[in-house]
Subunit: 124 residues, 4 copies
């Protein structure tokens, strides 16, 4: 499947897989009821240990995004909107720490917003 995994990223691979699946759902490329690639297929596609994919799927199941169907594999059970909302929440959470540290280091809100806008506009 079409996830691109960055082996050099500090964030764990199972987490990159989780995010990748969620993105596919948000983009509408995976819809409710669709079947995910099997663990083995996904693993060989992205050159990763099957255990790692299994962990990602398991955790996506625990959060209610996908579901295991005996003998059929995993299917999507959450719609794009729900997924998007939870992604937003998580990312906002992730932004908290660096922002508060920037605040402590004496940056102004205006300067910060400028930096953010810059990243938004000039990065791929």
């Amino acid at each position: 499947m079409w996830l691109d995994i960055d082996m050099r990223s500090p964030s764990p691979i199972y987490d990159q897989i989780k995010r990748g699946v969620r993105e596919e759902i948000i983009k509408g490329k995976l819809k409710e009821g669709d079947t995910l690639p099997s663990i083995r297929e996904m693993a060989s596609q992205i050159r990763v240990n099957p255990n790692t994919v299994a962990r990602a799927y398991r955790e996506l199941e625990m959060e209610g995004t996908i579901m295991a169907r005996q003998g059929l594999g995993y299917i999507v059970v959450s719609d794009g909107e729900k997924v998007r909302d939870s992604v937003f929440d998580n990312l906002s959470e992730e932004l908290k720490e660096p922002i508060l540290r920037l605040k402590k280091s004496g940056i102004s809100l205006d300067k910060l917003l400028e930096v953010i806008e810059n990243i938004w506009k000039h990065q791929s």
Copy 2:
């Protein structure tokens, strides 16, 4: 210089110490030429093993912020401005990833700036 360390934080203690020292320099509480608390003193103050403090100091030395003088202790060698700049750069770098992911997930720039402002204003 009594840093407050959060033992329950996911970020390693030696890293919290590094950030703490940098912050003191940025705030001007530590200036060029000032002596840091000795490894043992800092360790006992923040209830941590001396090795952990030693690692933090050593890495701050490697990045050019402080310097060891045998038998005497560590002194600050980088001025507040330099330290602030490098902290800004690092934190901006840290912001990049979550922001670009938010962009991919379909948030609007206005919504994002609103979220940022919220974090800035309503969090300690």
Copy 3:
């Protein structure tokens, strides 16, 4: 990759390990993408505590020569040429001090070059 470590040398073990790894890369015995012996394996081979190897690897990572991949091990990321160049620079830097002191003490350039050639030719 069996480095030979001299426990009686004044230079610290972690540094000998760093230099050893760099040399293997320079010699071409380790190439970009190759995996290093695991920390534990290297440690048991050279009869040293794993922490010591870990420190060497960590510092090689900080200088950009190798890279850790969680759960998999360390891989080489810098090519032999880059490593050789930086080794040359560092060693030239090390030569500076004793040479300038010899100059101050009144040795002639010819005599110095003779001494150097002697060391080169008659030492292992």
Copy 4:
């Protein structure tokens, strides 16, 4: 006295003092029978702990360069030539390690001699 000590150098201060005294003798500014500055005077001049100067003098005495005279302080007992010879020997010894490492890393003798000549000519 006229020694310049570099607090940022990695080499220990007592060693810098020893080298400084030897240099004065080689240069002829201190001759056989001359009195060295007292430990306290030297210590206050170069802003260093008296213990450190004491250690330097003690070791210079052990190697036979100077000698303590009860109530009179230290006097020079070795002539410039002898001192120069031993300095040469020590420095050659110091050159050995980096040179052999350069050899191992694949530099050629010609290239090395060129580097040495460069240092000699273009550095203070």
